[in-house]
């Protein structure tokens, strides 16, 4: 038996999810590897169609991978049946983007939050009820709200209910798919504060899936950037923002608008559109839009390789780009764009 402390709560290796299509297959996720240690928050960032949500759905087994492995807390769940998966569902829970469609409108808040406890047989009715009051307080809601139904709550309150439900069984891993994207700015801030507080107190691992770079910078310890089904770069959050290596990461970070009218900045404007995952370009998937692409990029797919840590003892980072040197020296897409 390996040491509990070192077992990652999530270990994804070579994950593939190809969807059959009349003319071939849609390669939504094409070889993604990702590890989340206990209590670690990993951000998975990418634009629409990058496959980030499909990774999340495969991890919680709402979807079945067509290749690779998903190991949750030491158990391989890649091809478990729904029945076999059921007892493992208390180890991993999900929070979705839209709380109004992920809460049953005909159940009370108390029933919604207590449901996982009931299904896993973790609490008697009385215990569950007490636990719901406690969970509501922990997510910053008054226990009086327990007897209301979702439509009587605001969007931010509903998202707090989703979080309370997800945490009711104390999962080792929380998968949060765009949990703040449907919320207003001020509400977004309070939900991010809440997630940060809960994560600190309870120490669950978290896969935080989002397109919001500011939110991921705030919450994540480590960030993986996806483009067209593959991870192109992975690094500790601070380093990724300070020194993005992959030309796509550089373009993505430069495009995010900064809430300061005096912030002069140079955007890297990408030409073209995201290519179709039905027929991804050969070589590096990003070469069709990369201002720096060379002949090698157009023919040979770059592997994700480990770069030396920025400082001694620091966490290693990974990048999939031919143009980044062995020493981690990266080209500047800004200069070429």
């Amino acid at each position: 038996m390996t040491d509990r402390v070192t077992t990652p709560v999530l270990d994804v290796r070579g994950l593939r999810r190809h969807f059959p299509a009349p003319s071939g297959s849609v390669r939504a996720v094409d070889g993604v590897s990702l590890t989340i240690g206990p209590g670690e928050v990993v951000g998975l960032v990418g634009e629409s169609g990058s496959g980030k949500s499909t990774v999340g759905r495969c991890v919680v087994r709402l979807d079945t991978p067509t290749g690779g492995e998903v190991v949750i807390d030491g158990t391989d769940v890649t091809s478990l049946s729904a029945r076999q998966m059921r007892p493992l569902r208390k180890k991993v829970h999900l929070v979705f983007q839209d709380p109004s469609s992920s809460l049953n409108p005909r159940m009370t808040i108390r029933q919604i939050i207590a449901e996982p406890l009931r299904l896993h047989g973790l609490a008697s009715r009385a215990e569950a009820s007490a636990r719901v009051d406690e969970l509501l307080r922990q997510v910053g809601l008054r226990p009086e709200l327990a007897d209301r139904t979702p439509h009587q709550l605001s969007g931010g309150q509903r998202q707090r209910v989703s979080i309370a439900r997800a945490l009711s069984v104390e999962p080792a891993l929380l998968v949060a798919d765009e949990p703040t994207s449907a919320l207003d700015v001020s509400v977004q801030a309070s939900v991010l504060n809440l997630l940060a507080d809960l994560q600190k107190d309870r120490g669950f691992g978290c896969l935080f899936i989002t397109h919001d770079l500011a939110a991921v910078e705030y919450l994540a310890d480590r960030i993986a950037v996806m483009y067209l089904g593959r991870i192109v770069e992975q690094a500790p959050a601070g380093e990724l923002f300070a020194d993005p290596k992959h030309p796509y990461t550089q373009a993505l970070l430069s495009a995010a608008p900064v809430p300061d009218p005096r912030a002069g900045r140079e955007r890297i404007v990408l030409g073209g559109d995201l290519p179709s995952p039905l027929d991804p370009p050969p070589g590096c998937h990003f070469h069709t839009r990369c201002p720096l692409a060379t002949d090698r990029c157009r023919t040979e797919a770059p592997e994700l390789r480990v770069l030396p840590a920025a400082e001694p003892g620091g966490a290693p980072r990974e990048v999939a780009c031919h143009l980044v040197g062995e020493d981690g020296k990266a080209p500047d897409a800004r200069a070429a764009a």
Partner: protein, 347 residues
Amino acid sequence: MTTTAPSPATGAARTGPVLSVRDLTVSFAGPDDTVHAVDGVSYDLAPGEVLAVVGESGCGKSVTSMAVMGLLPPTARIGGSITLDGQELVGADERTWRPLRGRRLSMIFQEPMTSLNPVLTVGRQIAEVLIRHQKLSKKEARARAVELLDLVGIPAPDRRVDEYPHQLSGGMRQRVMIAIAVACDPAVLIADEPTTALDVTVQAGILDVLKNLRDRLGTAIVLITHDLGVVAETADRVLVMYAGRPVEQAPVDELFAAPSHPYTRGLLGAVLRPGSRTKDGRARLNEIPGLVPDLRSRPDACTFAPRCAFAEDDCRGGRPQLRTLAGGHRIACHHPVTPQPEEEVSA
């Protein structure tokens, strides 16, 4: 309507505002009560100016714009005044509206897929406006459609003009929407969350197109958004709304540098900024406590008072009127956070 329309200005001076909104109110009567969606909004829009209207869901920013476009349902009760080039639009009949909408006033929406007709080529959809308003022939309209697609930065426009919306990406569809909106060179373009449904790398391109149009055609733009990053990069002036009422209006630099209304400060404080997390951990994000008020009541008080850290008795007992501070800054607050010397308030 509730106000008397000012006499239409003959040959409105080019230096004056192209669009003026005065004390606009929009309410929707229900069986038991009335929702006051917009309550006392005023602004002027100069030619070539980008005014951002900012606020959270339900603050009335979209309803204000629908009123300006004359697109509210008949159940809406509209008061106040909206003038375009001196012509009163509140209470105008459909005959008055028809030559204005799509020609002098245009609008683009958040979701380009639902705004475009899926069974017509984009070329036909652009040509429709030109044939109707500018009486171009089909052939002329098609040629102009190609030019417009080029103007909004669509590559290979002579090929794209014959494609259907589903063949285009989200960003390209929004560019087509913009091409339709500016086809007749409108004086005012209303962009309601034009980049909210788009990815950041695509968003940057769309904002560039809008700024480019403003520079080349002198189009005045009302940009409705909840994204303060977009505001900072695109707007000249900002109107902040809360619960249907205007709370602050200022040039963009001024607003970000010296937000005076406690709500504006709260909103700016809640925005995540680069560097929100350092080696020492996460800085706590500012929240605005409490909830948005119910729009069915229309209190004679500051509607933000229940959530405001600076609220005093007068805030709960009297509705603050918009007043002008230095530097074109307007604010509706009894206790502004960074008080500035009051100027002569010009009507």
